[in-house]
């Protein structure tokens, strides 16, 4: 498999970041960084990471099943994650998730028909003091109200429409 030069560079660095003979350590970062670029983890990627790190495919497979951020299927362009864990929940996180679900018209792990958004209810994301929080991609949004949520989604939709026009 070939990756972007930036990713290849990252891989090269990863493979030398650990003590000699410990390239297996690079498995999780490689999978996550590759997923960032490719959107998901394919069987091909599994075999590739196994080959590059010198482990067996099943050892890579084991890892993918374990970590909740690694996924075996493509998702929408923007991953919208709403935290409903206790700190967010007690200040409206659960309601926010339900609102998001209505706005996007999909449930947990659902992807909008235009392929723009995938919604996910997630565990605590480390924004408890500024709850309720969501992440869109890797970007945090704090103290999100239903109105702010809708504005955010609309903004992303408009941006997409712009790029389509160009």
């Amino acid at each position: 498999m070939t990756f972007s030069p930036a990713l290849e560079e990252r891989f090269a660095k990863l493979l030398t970041s650990y003590p000699a003979g410990r390239t297996r350590s690079a498995v999780v970062p490689m999978l996550l960084y590759a997923q960032d670029e490719l959107g998901w983890v394919s069987r091909e990627l599994i075999e590739e990471v196994a080959r590059r790190t010198g482990v067996t495919a099943v050892q890579v497979d084991e890892v993918i099943g374990y970590y909740s951020m690694l996924r075996r299927h493509p998702i929408g362009k923007h991953l919208v994650q709403v935290c409903t864990n206790i700190c967010c929940m007690v200040v409206g996180g659960q309601d926010l998730f339900e609102h998001a679900s209505k706005t996007l018209g999909v449930g947990h792990k659902g992807t909008t028909t235009d392929g723009l958004f995938t919604l996910e209810e997630v565990e605590c994301m480390g924004a408890c003091s500024w709850a309720p929080a969501i992440q869109v991609g890797y970007d945090f949004h704090h103290q999100v109200t239903p109105e702010r949520f809708d504005r955010l989604i609309e903004g992303l939709r408009n941006a997409e429409a712009e790029t389509r026009k160009v």
Binding site: P29, M69, N85, I86, E123, C124, G126, D139
Partner: protein
Amino acid sequence: MLYNEPSPLEVKVVTRRFGKPDSEKIDTYLADEGYEAFKKTLTLTPEAIIDELKASSLRGRGGAGFPTGLKWSFVPRNTGKPAYIICNSDESEPGTCKDRLLMENDPHQLIEGMLIAGWTVRSPAGYIFIRGEYRYLIDIVDRAVAEAYERGFLGKNILGSGWDHDIYTHTGAGAYECGEESALLESLEGKRGIPRLKPPFPAVVGAFQCPTILNNCETFSAIPAIFRQGAEWFASLGPPKNGGTRMMCVSGHVNKPGVYELPLGFPLMRLINEVCGGMRNGKKLKAVIPGGSSSPCLRAEECDIGLDFDSIAKAKSMAGSGGIVVLDEDTDIVGLALRTIKFYQHESCGWCIPCREGTTWLKKILERYHGGGGREKDIDLIHEIAKGMFGRTFCALGDAAAMPTYTFIEKFRDEFEAYLQKSRPKQIPELALL
């Protein structure tokens, strides 16, 4: 960038540079006594460094509150193997959001803390394990690490000491259990985050089967101040055996939730009323979860305590990770118990029976109970299952799931009972046999 207004009551030690322009840059850090502590430790013997740490009575900020100096003293010397430094920035305990600020606002302070640890055991390398969701922090920390290399604080022959040291960031990928130190090490080695058998503890056999210093991000970040301003000063900030300050992450029903740095032992009620501006909407306090979601909750009348490890332990809870969730009178305890167990069920690594099956069963009962299908005997059943898990699981996650659950029942049984009145009983089949 700060996410909440600081409080005038704060005692700023680890957060003292927060809010300064370019606080994450090495020049800002160097202009504010940056790396001075490390330079000082370069002249000290490992024993002297560890003694100083012990004298500071710094206790781990990751959850267990273990004395840091003592932990470092367990790292065997002259094993012929290298020793590694691991920073636990997995920060996933619900209620906790401080390591994130430390890495975002003052990554050099963390690097300096790790350098001191590295120098103490003459370690060749350190790894900062950052939860995958904090991707933006990896870039920030990587930039800081690169700056430290440029200025000679990392790399070969650091400051002419003849000692080489590298620091790398390492990403997690979504797993609370990887915050548990031995599961973290497995994850660092490219495996599933399944905890290891202990003993041996990581100090003796840790990363890559070598001796290891493993601490929380805030723990490392507190270390430069100790060597700059002295162990005695640090110890005197808090009550005996509870040195220093702590970043208290307050969330829930207060007017001004936020992360505040306060000395250990700071009164919980003052934190709520003075630092956080009191209860939201003038509501009454019902309960506080004092140390992240795994700590047993305190009823309002139990909250007259100081926020240090020993005082909270005396109140039969734990200071844990410093995540303080304040709950008002309207809080639905059953819903809270359900959401809590859902979390642990989702995050159980699945290795051992009691945690894997116990959390799943509890979740199912609570879901049904919460959904209106509760039976009176479920209350005792929940309590028994949680008690049956406690102390019998492979790692502490099982305890972390059990403790809040049985405590909610013990302290708010009336709310569970009241729920029964609300419920529209669903027909539950009674199974006579298996």
